[in-house]
Subunit: 109 residues, 2 copies
DNA sequence: CAATTATATCGTATATTTACGATAAAGGAG
DNA sequence: CTCCTTTATCGTAAATATACGATATAATTG
């Protein structure tokens, strides 16, 4: 059997080898982090793990309702986890999903 | 001189150690890739480097004007490069910026 | 129970994004 | 020069994102 010689692609600087639900999840994570205030919230959570919403409200120059909305976006994208703690909600980075993200990036970039 | 013993933070699953213009650039890249069609364009460019706009228009289910708009967003975020080639424009991944992105991710995640 | 604290959600206004058709601009072919 | 191809940009409509104040909910305090 003769081997077909396929035109080899010039080796690209990344593979972006991902599809389906995993791609959807990754794109959603990109989108959530593609907002300056949400990125700041993530940075704040690195240095203030377990802090509550009002800590973030005090830190950022936006209204409580807006912070709550951004927290929801980050949570639904999988970046953070909220734990109800009495009347407050305590937020942390979602370590499993962040590890998943790191590994995906390693594979596709 | 006595060393102040600071409360060590529980080691986080990422550092997000970035700020200023670099953070702005990274957030912009996240935002650009946080759109399903733009992610598809990036994937297409991995396997079709140097293709022209009309190739992408044929590939995607959206109008030529919309593709051109998405290409502009990707270009302004630094993901791709366009080269005018006769009446057409040939697009490639922007290798330097992608390398920059990969290194930033390595540092902060 | 009443008051306080903390937060999510609702309703809504404004801004941005996304999409399209139409058109302009620029190069190549006849 | 005229026609064709290719693409970017303009104008604009529709959808989505972002922001806020007001309000609802739920736990704690006095």
């Amino acid at each position: 059997m003769k081997e077909l010689k396929l035109n080899p692609l010039p080796s690209a600087c990344c593979t972006l080898d991902i599809s389906g639900k995993e791609q959807d999840k990754l794109v959603k994570m990109f989108k959530a982090l593609g907002n300056p205030l949400r990125f700041e919230i993530m940075k704040f959570l690195v240095t203030h793990p377990g802090c509550i919403t009002s800590d973030i409200v005090d830190y950022l120059p936006i209204a409580q309702a807006t912070v709550s909305q951004h927290l929801r976006v980050l949570r639904e994208a999988g970046w953070i986890e909220g734990t109800v703690d009495g009347p407050a909600t305590s937020y942390c980075l979602h370590e499993d999903n962040i590890t998943w993200f790191r590994n995906q990036i390693k594979v596709i970039f």
